[in-house]
């Protein structure tokens, strides 16, 4: 027993060394020729395993593919590593993955104590509550005395405690489950009067249930949950490539460069677009990737709008409307915004 613990510790120490031995993750990834990308496999619309196709699908999964296209020139060169809410930070620190996209909320403690750096926000979500329609509850104000359930590892636990205190509820119970599946099971069997997590996940589980009308998502939003990918701290070279690759997806939507019209946009005579797509004097070289890194992302996964529509658009069971939310393009009153590319 003691010996095995010792071995584990030694291995952990060794892995910390090996991962800190090289200067930047970017070189490692290029040398390896494949991107190890951490993502969830149980979050419909973000990162989940489609049992029909056997592929991991979702907004987060597409971001993994886009990053592989940017760094390695091929969206297929991704090795998906499944991470849980709990393991996602450790997987990065021990060098198991190069980057994580797993519907992770940006929080100060994660950049101060955990030792990671966040990429730009790629989805704006908020904490919500879902109840059974049969309960007749129409607003969170009616939940005094109810049992509210959530999952561990999200930001929701702290949100709920603050919510109960603010409202002055006396006898509200908060239960914490291991994962969304058990959480939804507890709501189904009436152990919980309400389940609380990010609204996107609520919509997904409601959409996936046998009778979505049995469940009602309450209108209130309890807290902000901006999602972003993240990389290991203190590696600006690696972080900056992915940061600007993310911005490029936004910029491409703003300039209406899509996977469909990419061929003709490559012939665009605007100097900005030419530089952006790497036709002439691109940005890639100084970032340490090829000049056409934006073009190869658009070619394989499309711009941000396309990624959003494919995974969360009206044709999916998990439809989350962009109009009037921060997820809309900044030109349409939203918060999706790229710094200028010139």
């Amino acid at each position: 027993m003691a010996r095995s613990k010792f071995l584990v510790a030694a291995l952990a120490a060794a892995s910390l060394w090996t991962s800190s031995a090289s200067a930047t993750v970017l070189d490692n990834v290029k040398q390896r020729g494949v991107l190890n990308c951490g993502t969830d496999n149980t979050a419909p619309g973000f990162g989940y395993l489609n049992t029909r196709t056997g592929k991991i699908e979702g907004l987060d999964a597409d971001f993994c593919r886009a990053m592989a296209a940017a760094v390695l020139g091929d969206a297929g060169k991704v090795n998906f590593v499944v991470v849980t809410d709990k393991s996602r930070f450790n997987a990065l620190q021990t060098g198991q993955v190069d980057v994580v996209f797993a519907h992770t909320t940006i929080k100060p403690v994660r950049e101060s104590a955990v030792g990671i750096d966040f990429l730009p926000i790629n989805f704006y979500d908020g904490t919500g509550m879902m109840v059974k329609s049969a309960s007749g509850v129409k607003s969170v104000a009616e939940l005094d005395g109810a049992t509210v359930c959530t999952t561990q590892g999200s930001g929701t636990e702290a949100t709920l405690a603050a919510f109960v205190r603010q409202r002055g509820f006396k006898t509200t119970k908060v239960l914490t489950f291991e994962n969304l599946e058990k959480l939804f099971g507890a709501l189904q069997s009436d152990r919980c009067n309400a389940m609380s997590t990010d609204k996107s996940a609520l919509a997904a589980w409601r959409g996936n249930s046998a009778k979505p009308d049995d469940y009602t998502i309450l209108p209130e939003t309890l807290n902000k949950s901006p999602f972003a990918g993240f990389v290991v701290a203190n590696d600006s070279r690696w972080r900056n490539v992915l940061r600007w690759a993310t911005f490029a997806l936004f910029q491409a939507e703003e300039w209406d460069i899509t996977s469909a019209n990419l061929a003709e946009r490559l012939k665009d005579d605007s100097a900005f677009v030419q530089k952006f797509l790497g036709v002439k004097d691109g940005f890639g070289k100084d970032f340490g990737v090829s000049d056409d890194f934006v073009a190869s992302m658009i070619k394989s996964v499309g711009n941000y709008g396309e990624i959003y529509d494919r995974n969360l658009g009206p044709k999916t069971p998990y439809f989350i409307d962009r109009v009037g939310t921060p997820n809309a393009m900044w030109t349409k009153g939203g918060a999706e915004y790229s710094p200028p590319w010139n």
């Binding site: 809410d85 930070f89 359930c149 914490t176």
Partner: protein, 397 residues
């Protein structure tokens, strides 16, 4: 010791001393090297973490937790008093972990007592002469031992406990017990604030006398103690009884008042008790079968019936044999409580996860949790060893 004495026999005292000294030196050297390795590893890990910009410190334990737990008691200071109270978000992270530990122990200790009793019965049942009883016990043991505990826990929770009537149609038994999906509510004891020191003192006397009555041998002392108990009880009622009954009342989302056993605790306890009982049953059965057949035959020739033989001849001997194996079982059982997170039970491991996520201090949390479980295992092992030394003392076997 005896081997050493044999080894040092027939050599000069000086040489013997030298030999003993060299042994000590060698052992000390091994200990020093091991300690140095551990320290070196710790420093190395710490440096590697520092390179990644991660600091290792336990300062976060004093910070306010800011999350809720569904159950769990903490010790907190009120002036100069230490009081037990329910955990609330304004308590510190350390208190959250203690509340988690409290919950783990609550399940572990109840399960240890229950699985020993239930497991012994099943173990005897496996050797029953009745076909039905024997095969029922066999079936139970086989089912339980051949499926993963995690699945059993989830089964008990979702398929058994949460199938009880919903909160608004709670089954009301015996006027006081309410069973519903929101938990099992017993009539609780309430402490009246008006009670004075006198009545508390008398109540303590009642308990002490009753306990002594059970423990002490000898009829006269027992009778005296019984009389003391009854007299003290009567006196408490006259002075003002400090305890009262609090009956649970059904509300919109569950029940209020009384003493509640949450569905999570109920399911986890059921799962662990049933699971461990199967293992205890096998331990007991093996021990019974390992006793010489002559024991049964001898007691039968004395005219003792089978139940009598079991109670007075077999089980006392079995109890001595099984102690070390039971200790192992108790240790596994205690570690099994950490599976409670699957059904939302706020045990130590569950709370550690929440604290780590809120504070970003994962490594420190892992260290604390590992050391805690290690300490618990040691305590269980030491207590069983003490009992073992007591019952298998010199001249007992």
């Amino acid at each position: 010791m005896t081997t050493q004495i044999a080894e040092y026999h027939g050599i000069t005292p000086v040489r013997r001393r030298l030999r003993i000294a060299s042994r000590w030196l060698l052992q000390a050297a091994i200990v020093i090297v091991a300690a140095a390795l551990v320290i070196w590893l710790g420093v190395a890990v710490r440096e590697a973490l520092a390179r990644k910009g991660i600091q290792f410190s336990f300062g976060y334990l004093g910070n306010v937790a800011n999350f809720s737990l569904s159950e769990g008691l903490v010790l907190s200071r009120e002036g100069s008093w230490l009081v037990l109270e329910g955990f609330s978000p304004s308590h510190s992270n350390l208190q959250a972990l203690l509340a988690g530990l409290w919950n783990s122990l609550k399940v572990a200790l109840s399960a240890i007592v229950l699985c020993t009793m239930f497991g012994t019965l099943v173990g005897i049942g496996r050797l029953s002469t009745n076909w039905l009883v024997r095969n029922l016990c066999f079936g139970l043991v086989e089912c339980v031992r051949n499926t993963p505990l995690l699945i059993q826990i989830v089964f008990w929770y979702f398929a058994v406990v949460l199938r009880s009537p919903p909160a608004n149609a709670a089954a009301n038994w015996f006027g006081g017990l309410l069973a519903s999906r929101a938990g099992v509510f017993f009539p609780g004891l309430v402490i009246h604030d008006s009670a004075g020191f006198a009545s508390w003192g008398l109540l303590a006397t009642v308990f002490a006398a009753a306990a002594a009555c059970v423990v002490l041998r000898g009829r006269r002392s027992r009778l005296i103690l019984l009389a003391v108990t009854i007299l003290a009880l009567i006196a408490t009622v006259i002075v003002g009884f400090p305890l009262g009954l609090d009956l649970p009342v059904a509300t919109r989302f569950g029940a209020r008042g009384g003493f509640a056993l949450s569905p999570e605790m109920t399911a986890l306890l059921l799962a662990i008790v049933v699971n461990s009982s199967a293992y205890v049953a096998e331990i007991v059965r093996g021990a019974i079968e390992s006793l010489p057949k002559g024991q049964w035959e001898a007691s039968a020739s004395l005219g003792l019936s089978r139940p009598h033989t079991l109670r007075d001849i077999i089980l006392p001997q079995v109890f001595r044999i099984v102690l070390p194996s039971l200790a192992n079982r108790y240790i596994s059982l205690t570690k099994d409580t950490s599976l409670g997170i699957a059904i939302g039970f706020p045990d130590l491991f569950n709370v550690y996860g929440t604290v780590s996520n809120q504070t970003g201090r994962n490594l420190e949390g892992v260290v604390i949790v590992m050391l805690t479980y290690l300490t618990l295992s040691w305590i269980i092992s030491a207590s069983v060893n003490a009992v073992n030394a007591h019952v298998n003392g010199r001249g007992m076997r």
